[in-house]
Structures are given as C-alpha cells and as structure tokens.
C-alpha cells in the first residue's frame, strides 16, 4: 500500500476513522472522530537526534499529514514539552516518546502527525524506533 492510500484509508468524514495511539506503548491519545485531517507541510524534529551535542541544530523530517485538534483537552492522554519558538511539542503521556506533533501557542491548535502515531485499537505490530 502506498503512503497516500494508507492516509486516505484513515480518514472518515474528514476526521480520524480509528483511535490514535502511541506507536511504542499503545497509550490512547485520541478517540475516533476527534481530529480533523489537514494537509500541510511542517518540519517536525526527529525523535532521535543523531547529533545530541549541538542543541542548536535540530534534525527534522518534513511531514504533510496531520490531525488538527482545537482544544487540548480533547486528548485522552498527551504530554506537552516546554515552549520552543511559540510551540510546544506533543508527546506520549505514558512513555514520553515523541514528538508526535506540536501545539501552536498563538492559535491554541494541536497538530498530530499521522506518520508518528498508530491508528486502531490493536497494538502496533512492530515497534520501530527509527523515526
């Protein structure tokens, strides 16, 4: 299945068809139909920075598919990082893995990257640790 079709299959009525969970510990982040799909480009920092000594150079990945959540309390379980450039990064509330997305301080909106989370009730089959 191509990347595009797998994204399409997760959308129902412009919202997330299935539950959104942590890819690592399966913690429930968002229930079905709570996030609105938005296609936008954003450079999200990698979970694992290869160069940890230089904190000024943040390695990122360009992502384009997001669930938008207007009210942070819509999340079932989620963590917020400290603020960096008017943004807080979103992490798993149970195992702290992330960022899975970001929170915009000005608009108060949260963006969860489809690629950084697991969709469905069943745990992710393989735990990959290379994003």
């Amino acid at each position: 299945m191509s990347q595009e079709s797998s994204v399409t299959s997760e959308i129902l009525n412009e919202k997330n068809k299935q539950e959104v969970r942590c890819r690592f510990c399966n913690s429930l982040m968002l229930k079905e139909q709570e996030g609105t799909y938005e296609s936008k480009q954003f450079d999200l920092p990698l979970t694992h920075q290869k160069n940890t000594k230089d904190i000024n150079t943040i390695e990122t990945e360009s992502l384009s598919d997001f669930w938008v959540i207007n009210d942070m309390f819509t999340f079932e379980n989620i963590g917020f990082s400290n603020t960096v450039d008017k943004r807080k990064f979103l992490i798993c509330a149970d195992c702290d893995m992330g960022p899975v997305g970001y929170h915009d301080i000005d608009t108060k909106k949260c963006y969860v990257a489809l690629k950084r989370v697991h969709h469905g009730k069943e745990p992710a089959k393989t735990l990959t640790n290379n994003s």
Binding site: T47, N77, A93, M97, G98
Partner: protein
C-alpha cells in the same frame, strides 16, 4: 463543533524538594526501553490524562514545578487554579521530609484555601536506604488532616492510585458544591466507606 468531551477538568500540581522524584512521577524518561533524545533535551511542561470516576470523565492536567522549588519560592501564579496538590518527599532523604512542613506553609500562603492535598513518600522501593519510616509519614499526614501514600515512581507503585484518590477527593468536594446548588440531587458520602476498589475502571 464545540462539544465538550469530558465532564470535569482538575488542575493538579506536584510540589516538594528537588530530587525527591517529582519529575519521575510525572515523566518516565530513562527507565524505558525507548527515550526521545529531542524531548529529554527540551523538557516536559505538563500532561493531560483522562480518568473515569463514578461515571464521570475527568481530565487531569498535571504540572511539575520545573525547578522553581530550588529557591523555595513557588509563586502564587504557579498555584493559580490548582485544585489538587501532591506533596512529595523522598523516604531516603530526611531533609525532604522535614521540608514537607515548609511546603504546607507555602501552600497555605499561596494556594486556594480549599485545595485538596496529598503527601507522597516516594522511592519506597529503596528499602535499604530508607531513613523516614512509613509511620512518620502517616503521623504528619494525620496531624495536618491530609491523605498519605508511599509510592515508587520507578517501580510504578501507587502512582496511579494516588492520582485517582486525589481526583476522587476533589470530586467529592465538587459534588458537595453541586448538591448545595441542586438540592434534589442525592449525594452519597463515600468518605466513611473506606475506599472500596473504586479504581478498577480508573486510569486504565
């Protein structure tokens, strides 16, 4: 679409000396198989967790002091809106236990009068290094009329039940207020029913 997906929102704080493991209670970092190098560099601000108590969906927003406690001057702004406070000491650190009294005074000065408090003796897995007995913890809690639990963030002992118990205590108060406004509602006082296993459905 402005529907609320929850019934109540409780703001909770973690307070206590540096090094008592507050951060570990809220954030797990290092102990897990996976860690995010990016997140551990910038640090965590707060978490939102959802629990279900007595059929009510409750959002807990939990904050850590982020190092402010080092100056022993947690400011009024930090306490603003707080409905529950976890006062944490380290059972292997006498000073952190003695300072609980100072923190209680600080809370009295700055926090809302009816804030619900709970004392946690953390690191209870480190039995060989224990210097504060469980009895002393219980005694100070009794003296101030607040709840007490020994916990281990590392071994995940009593952490979830502590948060649920604090949330339930706040819920009791909220329910009390609601009943005053709405006399037709029957409120069952559960305080005397010594904590039935009410946490099964909670924090799952």
């Amino acid at each position: 679409m402005a529907k609320k997906t929850y019934d109540l929102l409780f703001k909770l704080l973690l307070i206590g000396d540096s090094g008592v493991g507050k951060t570990c209670i809220l954030f797990r970092f290092s102990d897990d198989a996976f860690t995010s190098t990016f997140i551990s560099t910038i640090g965590i601000d707060f978490k939102i967790k959802t629990v279900e108590l007595r059929g009510k969906k409750i959002k807990l927003q939990i904050w850590d002091t982020a190092g402010q406690e080092r100056f022993h001057t947690i400011t009024t702004s930090y306490y603003r809106g707080a409905m529950g406070i976890m006062l944490v000491y380290d059972i292997t650190n006498e000073k952190s236990f003695e300072n609980i009294v100072k923190w209680l005074r600080n809370i009295d000065e700055h926090a809302n009068e009816d804030v619900e408090k709970m004392i946690l003796g953390n690191k209870c897995d480190m039995t060989d290094k224990r210097v504060v007995s469980k009895e002393r913890g219980e005694a100070i809690a009794r003296e101030h009329g607040i709840r007490f639990k020994e916990t281990s963030a590392k071994s995940n002992i009593n952490i979830e039940s502590a948060f649920c118990e604090l949330a339930e205590a706040i819920l009791d108060k909220t329910a009390g207020r609601e009943s005053a406004e709405n006399p037709e509602r029957v409120v069952i006082d559960r305080r005397n029913n010594e904590k039935a296993p009410a946490y099964k459905s909670c924090c799952s």
